[in-house]
C-alpha cells in the first residue's frame, strides 16, 4: 500500500496594497533588510484573534533607524509600526501570510518568485 504524506507546505507572503506575493526566500530577504535597518526591533503582540485555520495577531514593532531604509540614510530615530497579520496554518506550518503595516515598508518588498 502506498502511504501518502501531506505535501510540504508552500509559504507565500502578501503585503496589503502591493500586488503579487513573496515566497519564503523573498520574505527572508525582506526581513534581513528590515532587521539591518532596525537592528534592535522588538515585536509585541497586542491582540490575537483565531478562527479555524487562521490566526490574526496585531503587533506593535518598535525599533531605532540605524541602517538605510527606503533610500533614507540612518536617522537614529525611534519608530513605531503597527502590523496586522492573517496567518493560515496547515499541518502546523504557516502557508499563507497576509500582512498590513502602518506605515508600509514599500521599497524593501522585492520578489524573485
Amino acid at each position: 500500500v502506498k502511504r501518502t504524506r501531506p505535501l510540504p507546505p508552500i509559504y507565500s507572503a502578501h503585503f496589503a496594497g502591493v500586488p503579487g506575493q513573496m515566497c519564503r526566500e523573498d520574505f527572508k530577504q525582506f526581513m534581513a533588510a528590515f532587521i539591518a535597518a532596525f537592528p534592535d526591533q522588538q515585536h509585541t503582540v497586542e491582540e490575537l484573534i483565531a478562527e479555524g485555520d487562521k490566526v490574526m495577531p496585531r503587533l506593535v514593532i518598535r525599533g531605532t533607524h540605524q541602517g538605510a531604509f527606503n533610500g533614507i540614510p540612518p536617522t537614529d530615530k525611534s519608530v513605531m509600526i503597527t502590523a496586522i497579520n492573517i496567518l493560515r496554518i496547515e499541518h502546523g506550518k504557516i502557508v499563507e501570510h497576509y500582512t498590513h503595516t502602518l506605515p508600509a515598508p514599500c521599497s524593501l518588498i522585492t520578489r524573485r518568485c
Partner: protein, 144 residues
C-alpha cells in the same frame, strides 16, 4: 450572539453605511458611545463623530466610494476584516484639494461587538499609499 451574527453586523455596516451611504444605519449598528481607537484627524468622538466624518469629509471627498471585504476572521466578541476601498477624489480630503484621482486603499479593521452593537473599532488604513496615489507624497525610493 454568535460569531456569524457579529460578522453579519460588520457586513451590514459596510453595505448599508459605506456602500449605500445610509448614515441612519449607524444608529442601529453602533453603540452611541462608540470608540475609534485610531481616528482620522478631525474625527469627533462617538457614533455622532463617525457620522459627521462620513457626512462632511469622507463621502463628499470620495462620492463613488466602494468598500470590498476580502477576508474575515472572527473570535468571541471580535471581527477582523481585510478590506480594500476604491474611490475618486472629488472634494478636499485631509486638506488636499480634489485631484480627481481614483485610488485603491487597503483598510483592515478589528471590530468589537457587544450584545449586537459595535462598541469599538480599530482601522489600519494605508494612509501613505493613499497620499502616494493622490500624488502628494513621492512614490517609495524616490527623493522628496
Amino acid at each position: 450572539v454568535s460569531m456569524e451574527e457579529n460578522k453579519a453586523l460588520i457586513r451590514r455596516f459596510i453595505e448599508e453605511v459605506l456602500n449605500q451611504k445610509n448614515l441612519d444605519a449607524i444608529d442601529d449598528i453602533c453603540s452611541p458611545d462608540f470608540v475609534e481607537h485610531d481616528p482620522v484627524p478631525g474625527q469627533g468622538p462617538g457614533a455622532a463623530g463617525l457620522k459627521q466624518f462620513f457626512a462632511q469629509h469622507f463621502f463628499p471627498a470620495f462620492p463613488d466610494l466602494h468598500w470590498v471585504v476580502e477576508e474575515m476572521v472572527a473570535e468571541g466578541e471580535y471581527v477582523m476584516a481585510r478590506s480594500m476601498w476604491i474611490g475618486t477624489h472629488q472634494e478636499p480630503f485631509l486638506g488636499i484639494p480634489p485631484t480627481n484621482k481614483r485610488v485603491t486603499v487597503a483598510a483592515w479593521t478589528i471590530d468589537h461587538i457587544i450584545d449586537g452593537k459595535l462598541t469599538d473599532s480599530r482601522i489600519i488604513m494605508d494612509a501613505l499609499g493613499l497620499l502616494q496615489q493622490l500624488g502628494v507624497v513621492p512614490p517609495p525610493g524616490q527623493p522628496r
